[in-house]
Symmetry: C2
Subunit: 316 residues, 2 copies
């Protein structure tokens, strides 16, 4: 399974552990990279430059390549965090969801491989024009934030035909079958978040992991409820896919009202602190139905490596 | 590309031309089968037994295998149409969306290969228990009717791990890349509708085809508006994905009101007759963005055959 991704970073399995803010920090990134894929640190919107430096030291502690994922809309007017990323010199940085062109230019000038996530073919074309090294075609079944418009399989086919840079496939890839699929389509690898959410190396509280392991494929929902209640400045076209819960159901369709409801805001903050996931969010993609037990990142990566056998069947 | 699908029907390309009521009748089915895939007739909810017999004669006129797609919810209390299908003796019948167990049993007893469409892993398990020969894992990006819950890529991985019968992948497969993907995952073939919608052999009026060719990947919407306005007895869990238009936008979220609005009903019927697709529906999946010009079914099938080359890359 040699692709642009494996060759660029000298890794054995063409999988990137997608940056998951609040779920995957230095420890998960290090574990994914140690297992032969490429782990990434998800930088939360409120993270400090110091936090980035600390987590980067953990992720890169053994000298293996790793990546850092940044939210473009959080970088404006706060150069310290991008500086911290540049200082850490990770092998890969993703800058997505907002004005990414400036950061991409700085990172590339520093010799760092840069990607961005695209949820439509138009966004992928724009990413290529902006000079990223590769583009992540992110389908609407993916967990966390992004567009809710086009699913991975049609998006991937379209993007692969429309851009010349390497394409990574994000959204719904949870097993070797999914990895084999996107490689056969022509992707350079898979960008995998949800499949790592049951891992012992995540930063998730146990109660949240329990929700992940119990959730089925139809238990997620897409929307802006959790961003609106927290007054987060996410560009509105990038909603989030999370486990559907009572709080989401109560407020979906009433986002305007929610935006000024201080009681709901306090309720969510309290629930986050107490670990009440009927109210607090757990971002996850539709692949969550295939995440059924606690595993190590090494086990998950070893599972993906089976894609090679699936692809070899077509040799004859 | 030898799979259960190619071996069962003696075809060269592991693609089924999905049954599309109102779009693909005998002519399209015959053209798809003549090109080396397996064409199907989509039986509209109001079709008569005579219509089925006529279209079957066209589809099977040259002796090639073809299929017929039935809507399970339309069969109750009207045995004539199932009898017409049994008389026609197609190679494949799909019975989906409603109580399919009885028809499946009759068809299988007659020696006809039978499949059904599943939109969740639970539905796929139930299909296997009901005795179908294969199950179609239909993702939410697919055009026309079905569940809107799980996208093709995650659904396919899950279903392939959970059932022992052959699995066909539906939803979003529009090019050789998509076919290679689902075969690599382990599917026995792809169930393709939208990619054939630009074909000269469809029953679509030119104005509708024009909408198809002009539509982009984000121009579809999923919901029940067009079923509700027509008072069709679709089980409510099976909505439809169609090109988003002014009528859909006006009524989405107001289905209860629409259900008793006689003016809207008359408006839709008039628009269907006059070919006004700002009001009338054109069912299509997210893959519609990749359908950009009029082609023959033979050209589309030849395009899919390129999947073999994509898969051979992994031989080394």
């Amino acid at each position: 399974m040699r692709t642009w991704l494996t060759e660029r970073f000298g890794i054995g399995v063409p999988v990137v552990g997608a940056p998951m803010a609040g779920v995957g920090a230095g420890r998960l990134a290090a574990a994914v990279s140690a297992a032969g894929a490429l782990g990434m640190i998800g930088v939360p919107s409120a993270a400090t430059a110091e936090w980035i430096a600390e987590q980067a030291a953990i992720a890169g502690g053994d000298g293996r390549p790793y990546g850092i994922g940044l939210l473009a809309w959080t970088l404006d007017g706060d150069p310290a965090r991008l500086d911290a990323v540049l200082d850490a010199r990770p092998s890969l940085v993703s800058v997505s969801f907002g004005p990414y062109a400036g950061p991409v230019e700085r990172l590339r000038r520093a010799g760092i491989t840069v990607v961005t996530q695209a949820g439509t073919t138009d966004e992928a074309r724009a990413a290529e024009r902006a000079g990223v090294d590769a583009v992540v075609a992110r389908g609407s079944e993916a967990g966390g934030h992004g567009r809710g418009d086009v699913a991975t399989l049609p998006l991937l086919q379209s993007v692969l035909d429309e851009v010349r840079i390497p394409v990574l496939a994000a959204g719904g890839v949870a097993t070797a079958r999914g990895l084999a699929a996107v490689l056969a389509a022509g992707a350079a690898g898979a960008w995998v978040g949800t499949a790592f959410m049951g891992c012992v190396e995540t930063a998730l509280p146990d109660a949240a992991t329990g929700r992940v392991l119990a959730a089925g494929e139809t238990d997620t929902a897409y929307g802006r409820v959790f961003d609106v209640v927290q007054r987060l400045a996410w560009p509105p076209e990038y909603g989030g896919r999370a486990l559907r819960n009572a709080f989401f159901d109560r407020w979906a369709g009433r986002e305007e009202e929610l935006a000024s409801d201080e009681e709901a805001r306090a309720e969510l903050e309290a629930a986050r602190r107490s670990g009440d996931y009927d109210t607090a969010y757990v971002y996850a993609g539709q692949a969550v139905g295939m995440v059924r037990r606690r595993r190590t990142a090494a086990e998950v990566v070893a599972g993906f490596a089976e894609a090679e056998r699936l692809l070899r069947r077509f040799a004859t």
